[in-house]
Point group: C2
Chain length 343, copies 2
Amino acid sequence: MTDLNTLGEIGLIERIRQATASPTHPETRLGIGDDAAVFDWGDSYGLLTSDLLVEGIHFDLTYVPLKHLGYKAVTFGVSDIAAMNGLPVQITVGVGLSSRFPVEAVDELYEGIRAACQAYNVDLVGGDTTSSRSGLIISVSVLGKVPKNLITYRNTAKPNDVVCVTGDLGAAYLGLQLLEREKQVFLADPNMQPNLSEERAYLVQRQLRPDARTDMVHELRDLGVLPTAMIDVSDGLASELLHLCRQSGTGAVIFDENLPIDDQTHLAADEFKISPVTAALNGGEDYELLFTVRPQEFDKLATNARITAIGYLTADPTQIVLATKAGQQTPIRAQGWSSQLGA
Amino acid sequence: MTDLNTLGEIGLIERIRQATASPTHPETRLGIGDDAAVFDWGDSYGLLTSDLLVEGIHFDLTYVPLKHLGYKAVTFGVSDIAAMNGLPVQITVGVGLSSRFPVEAVDELYEGIRAACQAYNVDLVGGDTTSSRSGLIISVSVLGKVPKNLITYRNTAKPNDVVCVTGDLGAAYLGLQLLEREKQVFLADPNMQPNLSEERAYLVQRQLRPDARTDMVHELRDLGVLPTAMIDVSDGLASELLHLCRQSGTGAVIFDENLPIDDQTHLAADEFKISPVTAALNGGEDYELLFTVRPQEFDKLATNARITAIGYLTADPTQIVLATKAGQQTPIRAQGWSSQLGA
């Protein structure tokens, strides 16, 4: 018998992918291996992504309000569609509940789901509910579409492409640290009031109620920019960059001082004695978009405040490095998901 | 605070449906309320269904081999597509695993998933895996298609339509009783060998590895028969008949002696002192198709050994009854899912 931890998530998915039969329906253009499956629907590509969120692994109900959790579950799926440069159309949400949830809690969860559906303009078309003997379980499947000439994969980047990221990174991770600290304070003394000051609101909001960047999909289209490759930042920039480079067969140089990090993230990182660069690289849950563009295309983006160029791709797939101002280069490594399996 | 059990599954789904915004995308023809959501894809309707299977609620790993469980999870989703008179095209399967599962167990689960995908001719296009702190969780989403002129809903049956069912009913429930009994014997004395004789193989197979009736979808098309309404029998005939009648605004008379019940089911029912009619009505997990046809269409089906006429629809929606040979009529009631929520 082989322990699952020896494989890790990527190893396990690769094992499943290799053992999976090739598609037999000609319309199935891509199965496992990108942010979403891709179907040829004639005038456009259809996209399908499914995610599973499990209490104790993906969220802690001690500090996650159910309304925010509902919103975040939808964000989770929609972000995968955005990563293909697509827009969501329909969503199904399955919920596993234990009897400890009153009806009002279910209402609150669905309030958040509906708010997100409205924000992303996606139709909620399925509402499976079931019992669960233990924690809360949420499964989300999103169907989306993208014009055929605009689809972006992970494996189509080229050396010299400029590496860009939307928004800022690491805030969700510092938000999590703040919430975890408050949880410990609360557990020690349930009468304590939470100490989440106004200035920290951004970090907490990035953790509890992140937005998928469908707005950037629209913006890229408006700017007339087609990324050469794209992926969403759910597990942390390092992990996603490694996926993109491995699947495209490229290396990368990322400049640490270019990483977009909010002032609040810097302040909280100081307080928690965490490197803000580490938070940006490995924190995860930012739901920003990591994409690459041809160098000559970058001019169209250069003045956009919501997009930051953080480096470029190289021809050597063995060199995926973080470069400091002083010229030092260190290999970028992903923090594995496998540690979670120890649960 | 209101206890979830006061609502039950149907009440909860209805609450969610009522609070859900109307679809904004013109292609979304139907959201919540049938076996699958329906999308207008131009030359055909697209279908999407999502289901969540949770250890301790939907399956017991004491006696369910993982390979069969993988197969059954796919059956679960494909059956919903068949209920719309459609055929499956793509499927995503999400799996939540705890570290107690070795890699070999995951392989076994996926072996069953792949066998089912081959049997139903559906492409496995997504393989999300995550950790789970407690039991095994499987989420399944199936995309299917149906020619526009062949789609069958639940709410379009009419009085005088003949009520038909494919295959036989109640066997999966008796299979479950056999497995539960062997489990108790095993728990009392782990050295005991299971006493599942050859003659019981059919019942156990119907519980552990049921097939969705995509074959009957093909057969109905070959026979040139279009049901006026259709639903799959997952929760038991009674529950599904009540859905069909309520949504169509009809009543029904079902003849108990017409219910298709296998000889093995009869024998096991005797042994367990369970009424075979109750097993057929409320046992569930048969994954057969319950459908209605116009009386003049029924001639095309009358000699088909895999289809049984069990009654007819009436104009009075308050009368949904089981009729005995002796002429007695008793109201048909569904056994609720709400009891499961007590978990």
